[in-house]
């Protein structure tokens, strides 16, 4: 087990007293990145971010520097920060928004400066009441401080930042669903193509949509240079990253670790991180990258936290939420519980997701309640296949957005890994775990 000596980057202010205040932030190193960026040509700032190989932290893991380079050449350009973190077991952005809002604002401003945005929007999940309060307070402080608004720090560059609370829909975490919501409409994701935000985003203008954690990295990258960031990690997965560790571990929580050099085993078992499986139970399976990722068995514990490595094994690091399931876990119930989430959160736009999620939940519930049929296992897989044809990774989809093909991940994982447990439910007419 290794705990590398890589520094804390996005979470470095978190131990500071009142870390969410301007004073605390500036007393540390607050807004130094922005001040520096404003003295640099935009292209140079962009170059540093590219060198950092900063993969987007929202789930899809697209390199931030590359995303900024894809904007359609048109005015105006918008920057939208996605803080609609809503997936079960994902709670890193929540922490950053509440504990270090200024760092997000600073990253947003540097990014806006770099891409030449006309306006920036920070979209925060509506349920984050405290986060919204702190983010709003921070933005007001930042305006007063001269970091936002007209003629920022005397540079002659001006921009406004707008905080927009969501209204409680997971789907608005999808970037195009978020844009619809931001425009005041129902959060129905848009069809890609043609509505790639970089080409036709907010109000049909070229738009960059970045995650809160991605933004939180930007000030450090600018202050210390892209090379300093990419000195950590390996391959394409550079720097450090927050992983939300939860489930049956002794010490659930957010841990910022160096990428690639750290493994899933480290996160679950190192006393500094997860501290082992609770009650000294055996690990049965784990979710490597959020509710929409395919599961891993204990045999994959030594897989490095490398986006592409994990991708090659048929799943994803996704939003960086890692859930441990110990031997007492009922895999049917786990799959049902996750499917229930997708069922509740399907926006209802595309038939396969709208109707499929509910149906799949009903089947799983039936099996869990001991009323399953053997044919249900093939039915589960086939209905999943009708949402994500081929059940491959990365998924194909019959729906507009990736919520559809997320539904099969827990179901297919559970059926493939624990088919016998499903059959036991069916044969015994009850859940063997007693749940």
């Amino acid at each position: 087990m290794t705990v590398t000596d890589a520094p804390k980057i996005v979470t470095r202010h978190l131990g500071n007293a009142d870390s969410w205040t301007l004073k605390s932030y500036v007393d540390a190193d607050g807004y130094q990145g922005l001040r520096k960026a404003l003295t640099m040509p935009r292209e140079e700032v962009h170059e540093e971010v590219k060198k950092a190989s900063l993969l987007g932290r929202g789930g899809a893991g697209f390199p931030a520097g590359q995303k900024w380079a894809m904007l359609r050449k048109a005015e105006p350009i918008y920057l939208v920060i996605n803080g609609d973190e809503s997936e079960p077991a994902t709670f890193k952005d929540h922490m950053l928004i509440e504990q270090d809002p200024h760092q997000i604002i600073e990253g947003t401003l540097i990014t806006a400066y770099t891409i030449g945005a006309a306006q920036a929007f920070i979209y925060i999940r509506g349920e984050f009441a405290k986060g919204l309060e702190r983010m709003t307070q921070a933005l007001n402080e930042a305006y007063e401080y001269g970091a936002v608004g007209k003629n920022i720090f005397g540079s002659g560059w001006s921009i406004d930042v707008i905080i927009h609370p969501g209204a409680g829909a997971y789907i608005c975490g999808d970037e195009t669903g978020l844009l619809e919501s931001l425009e005041g409409k129902r959060g129905f994701p848009r069809i890609k193509p043609p509505f790639f935000p970089a080409a036709f985003g907010l109000y049909q203008a070229p738009t960059v949509v970045n995650n809160v954690e991605t933004m939180s990295n930007i000030p450090w990258v600018v202050m210390n240079g892209g090379d300093a960031f990419s000195a950590f990690g390996d391959n394409r997965s550079r720097g450090t990253r927050i992983f939300s560790v939860s489930g049956h571990v002794v010490r659930p929580g957010n841990y910022e670790v160096e990428m690639v050099k750290t493994t899933f085993r480290d996160l679950f078992y190192d006393p500094v991180y997860g501290g082992g499986i609770r009650n000294n139970k055996e690990l049965k399976a784990f979710i490597p990258g959020g509710a929409s990722s395919y599961w891993f068995g204990p045999d994959k514990l030594d897989t490095p936290l490398d986006q592409d490595e994990v991708g090659k094994l048929g799943t994803m690091l996704g939003s960086g939420s890692i859930v441990a399931m110990d031997e007492t876990t009922c895999s049917v119930r786990a799959a049902w519980r996750l499917t229930r989430f997708f069922h509740k959160e399907s926006c209802g736009q595309c038939t396969p997701c709208r109707e499929g999620a509910g149906w799949l939940e009903k089947i799983l519930q039936r099996i869990e309640a001991g009323r399953g049929r053997e044919a249900d296992l093939d039915l589960l897989l086939d209905a999943c296949d009708n949402i994500a044809p081929g059940l491959t990774w990365p998924p194909k989809q019959t729906t507009i957005c990736p919520l559809g093909p997320s539904i099969p991940s827990p179901i297919v994982s559970a059926v493939r890994m624990f088919r016998d447990e499903f059959l036991t439910h069916i044969k015994e007419g009850a859940c063997p775990h007693g749940s």
Partner: protein, 941 residues
């Protein structure tokens, strides 16, 4: 107008064969034209695609291999490879249909849509055959009312968003939308706000399942019992194409047919649902004759004898000029022609008027160069000088709204109050009633105004002038202008609009007009000569007298009276007989007091109608008439588009078509009208009417004339086109003329499995009747041009009468058919009424839901007409010391009424608005039809 540029072409590979497609069109549309039907639910060819239902997934081969792609949302591109029948596509289709049926109640046996349901049909053609769903379905209360007319069964809904998109995108009434999430998504209204859109019935028609049903049709019929006749809606002058459907000789439903140049499949709710009135219990289905104080049912013979002898007597004692005929705008062209001929050739009167003092002078209507609706939508600018189109010509409102929204058509509105189109107008100038012509002159004058014009601030006028100037400069000689000209208010006279038309004709060379007269076939009736001083075919009495006298035997040589003049004359006891052709002056003439006196003072009053209207109750004889769907014939819409009307049911009781009544009356007066069926009348119209040359019955019946024929046929008119094959899913319920779409589907299915050879789609086959039509027209005129020794040909219409008297042998004089008259649009200026500082000028307008017979005798519509209330600018109310919502006494020189007054910023200062022909007392009790404007004082009660 310049013809539209043909679209650029691209070539795609569709299921292995090369197919040509229009650049920019969606795969689903290109495939359909190539005979490959891709199943769909949310896609509708008249709305923007959303790609939601996922039924149209096809495989498009991309750089990473074939990918399932919604065919409704992805445009064709050159070299694109599309596969619609691969196992991957088939599995996706099975999957989507199985998912759709998971929560669908499958209550087809009791569902109105069962038998004509795209969900049923596509499940049959593309679905998996059986479901693997064994769980409990989602349940909702069913149905819930979205409005008085539309019910929603949420269990049946498949969330395709056709209805919500229609309401927002097409109707501009976003009153329904999705609420909730996932499989709990439901279509909903906003709390306490029903779906009151005038176009709500369209959502029922385009619903691909039985989720939306209409209260008038609900449980009325089963699709397999339904018979259909294609026809046109005659409720207003737009003339939307419709399918009239019946079951057991009762009308059960009207559906919109997609006529590209006219209604593009949409209907307003009045047109869609007023068929209920046809089978109303109030319908009078036998002749009535007044005996004492009562109207008593009699046989046709007795009634016709009574009318014939009264008319005979009137003619002999007082002369034809003492007989008047009001109405005719509800009739078919053939009926109007028959009455027109009866009046001139038998009764010897020119006192005929299809308008009820609420339109424009016939000479103006007939003299203006006409535009089509398409030309208006494609124009460089449209000038709106008309009543609120949303209220009076609703589907024209939809077309113009779409042109503004989609094609950025600049709309310059000159109105007396805010209208449905105001928010879409590039400029909206609200002027004082009675002064439209002053504003139009200021718009077209050489110099900018410096002072207020007709109540409009100079800056607003200047802005509109600059807008027009900018369009003129940008488009130069290609600029085209269309004026929608009507009578915005019944409380002021028509003179300013005739004046304004003359000014606009001068100012914009090449300008064309759409005359916004609302009554169904008013344009057809005018074309048939139901206006004083005109004869059939848009020819003036003086130009056409010789020609028609030759054909008809006689034509009066004095110009007759219009409706207002007739009523004045009658009120003074100088009209011996008055025939009302579906006209109800007591309700529908702007001035009730004059109408009342007129009906009292007239000698014999004959009402030819379907209902015992207020006016018909005063009649001496009531003759029951057949109405639309009960008789055949043709109809002419506001563009001059002649279309065929379909007969679907038998007229109730012993009601007759109007032409038959006219012919019988002529016979009883010792003359023959010379025809014994509708076709015979049309042949005579085609032969005699200068405007209808070449428009033969054969042409009208042909597929190229599916959208009708704009008359007169000529080079200036848009070419007729063969209709594109219709998307079967766009109009569920319509029984397609060629093959029923389900059989087409099966053919396609079979074709894809190689069982049936795929034929070319949309091939109408046979010869092109249009090709012959113009030749026919040429032949007709050359027939008459053949010079024959001994026969004098009069070729100059202007010289007709004089020439007739010059010939040596009057017995063999042959007059050629005159050309349609170029009626002079009066250039004389209408007066500018003085301002009365103590009064407000009255604006009286029609509303869609009114006290007319179609609405009042349709049980589901009658309740929608609101009681009249006044609307005035809040400043005026404050100035006059009235509260919004309070009661006031409205006093005009004609009378007074106590009404509620509401504050409305859409009414400019100095005016007060009031609905016309609403239940109870109303605007007609205040208006003086002989005055230029109506001033109203608002007194405290």
């Amino acid at each position: 107008m310049a013809p539209k540029k043909p679209p650029d072409k691209v070539t795609i590979t569709l299921d292995g064969r090369a197919v040509e497609a229009n650049k920019g069109e969606m795969i689903i549309a290109a495939a359909e034209r190539a005979g490959v039907y891709i199943p769909r639910f949310c896609y509708h060819p008249r709305m923007k695609p959303v790609g939601m239902c996922r039924m149209c997934l096809v495989e498009v081969v991309g750089p990473r291999g074939p990918a399932l792609t919604p065919a409704c949302f992805v445009a064709v591109s050159d070299g694109q490879v599309v596969n619609t029948t691969t196992p991957g596509v088939k599995k996706a289709q099975d999957g989507v249909l199985e998912f759709l049926l998971v929560n669908h109640p499958l209550d087809c046996p009791v569902c109105d849509k069962g038998g004509e349901c795209p969900l049923q049909d596509q499940t049959l053609a593309f679905g998996p055959g059986e479901t693997r769903f064994v769980e409990e379905k989602r349940h909702w209360e069913k149905p819930i009312a979205l409005s008085e007319l539309v019910l929603l069964d949420r269990e049946r809904c498949i969330q395709c968003a056709r209805c919500t998109r229609f309401a927002d995108e097409i109707a501009g009434d976003p009153q329904i939308d999705f609420s909730m999430r996932g499989d709990m998504v439901e279509v909903a209204t906003f709390p306490g706000q029903p779906f009151t859109s005038y176009f709500s019935g369209n959502t029922v028609q385009i619903c691909p399942v039985g989720a939306l049903t209409s209260t008038p049709y609900r449980f009325k019929a089963r699709p397999w019992d339904i018979e259909q006749a294609e026809s046109s809606c005659t409720t207003c002058a737009v003339g939307c194409r419709v399918a009239v459907q019946s079951s057991g000789d009762h009308i059960t439903r009207k559906l919109g047919v997609d006529s590209d140049p006219v209604n593009q499949s949409w209907l307003c709710d009045k047109g869609r649902f007023d068929w209920e009135s046809l089978s109303s219990a109030e319908r009078i289905t036998a002749p009535l004759v007044r005996k004492g104080d009562e109207l008593v049912e009699v046989a046709w013979t007795e009634a016709l004898d009574a009318v014939a002898s009264a008319l005979q007597k009137a003619r002999e004692v007082h002369g034809g000029g003492a007989i008047g005929m009001i109405g005719g705008a509800r009739l078919a062209n053939e009926d109007a022609y028959a009455w027109s001929k009866l009046a001139r050739a038998v009764l010897g009167t020119d006192n005929v008027d299809a308008q009820l003092g609420d339109g424009l002078p016939a000479q103006t209507v007939l003299g203006l160069p006409r535009a089509t609706i398409d030309q208006a939508c494609d124009a460089s600018a449209v000038i709106l000088l008309a009543p609120d189109l949303k209220e009076e010509l609703p589907v024209l409102y939809l077309r113009l709204r779409a042109a503004v929204k989609d094609a950025k058509l600049p709309l310059i509105e000159l109105a007396e109050q805010r209208s449905g189109l105001t928010r879409h107008a590039a400029a909206s100038l609200l002027h004082r009633p009675g002064e439209a012509h002053v504003l139009v002159r200021a718009l077209t004058a050489a110099a900018d105004p410096t002072a207020e014009v007709a109540g409009v601030a100079p800056a607003e006028v200047v802005a509109a002038r600059q807008l027009l100037k900018g369009i003129g400069e940008k488009e130069g000689e290609d600029a085209t202008y269309v004026v929608v000209l009507g009578r915005p208010s019944l409380a002021s006279g028509p003179a300013p609009f005739a004046d304004a038309a003359a000014t606009l004709l001068d100012a914009f060379p090449g300008v064309r007009f759409l005359t916004a007269l609302r009554r169904g076939n008013v344009h057809g009736a005018l074309d048939m000569g139901l206006a004083p001083g005109t004869l059939p075919g848009r020819v003036s009495q003086s130009d056409g007298r010789a020609w028609f006298a030759q054909a008809w035997g006689q034509v009066p040589d004095t110009t007759g009276m219009d409706t207002t003049q007739m009523l004045v004359e009658a009120s003074e006891g100088r009209l011996a007989a008055l025939i009302l052709l579906g006209a109800d002056p007591l309700s529908d003439f702007p001035d009730r007091s004059l109408a009342r006196k007129g009906l009292q003072g007239a000698g014999t009053v004959v009402a030819v109608d379907c209902f015992l209207t207020e006016s018909a109750k005063k009649a001496d004889v009531f003759l029951p008439a057949a109405t639309y769907a009960e008789r055949a014939g043709t109809f002419t819409n506001m563009e001059g588009r002649v279309v065929r009307l379909g007969q679907k049911v038998t007229a109730p009781g012993v009601a007759w078509p109007d032409w038959m009544i006219a012919a019988e009356l002529a016979f009883r007066m010792g003359k023959e009208l010379g025809f014994d069926n509708v076709e015979g009348i049309w042949d005579e119209i085609e032969r005699l009417s200068p405007a209808h040359t070449g428009v033969t019955s054969n042409l009208l019946a042909s597929l190229v004339a599916k959208d009708g024929v704009v008359v007169p046929m000529g080079a200036a008119d848009p070419p007729m086109h063969k209709p594109e094959p219709l998307d079967p899913m766009a109009e569920p319920g319509i029984i397609a003329a060629e093959t029923h779409w389900i059989s087409r589907l099966t053919t396609i299915e079979a074709a894809s499995t190689g069982e049936v050879e795929r034929g070319p789609q949309g091939d109408v086959g046979g010869q092109d009747p249009l090709a012959g039509a113009t030749e026919d027209a040429a032949a007709v005129s050359s027939d008459h041009n053949v010079s024959d020794p001994g026969i004098t040909l009069v070729t100059e219409p202007d010289a007709d009468v004089a020439a007739e008297h010059d010939v040596s042998d009057p017995g063999i004089t042959l007059v050629t058919r005159p050309a349609p008259t170029r009626f002079a649009v009066p250039a004389t200026s209408a007066p500018v009424p003085p301002i009365d500082a103590y009064s407000l000028r009255l604006i009286a307008t029609h509303q869609l839901w009114d006290a007319g017979v179609g609405v009042q005798h349709s049980s589901h519509l009658a309740g929608l007409a609101a009681a009249p209330s006044l609307r005035a600018n809040p400043h005026d109310l404050k100035r006059l010391g009235h509260e919004s919502g309070g009661r006031v006494k409205a006093v005009s020189p004609r009378g007074s009424l106590v009404l509620t007054v509401e504050a409305d910023t859409g009414v400019p200062r100095g005016s007060v608005a009031l609905g016309f022909n609403l239940p109870g007392e109303g605007a007609a009790d205040l208006i003086d039809a002989t005055a230029a404007i109506t001033n109203v004082r608002l007194d405290s009660v």
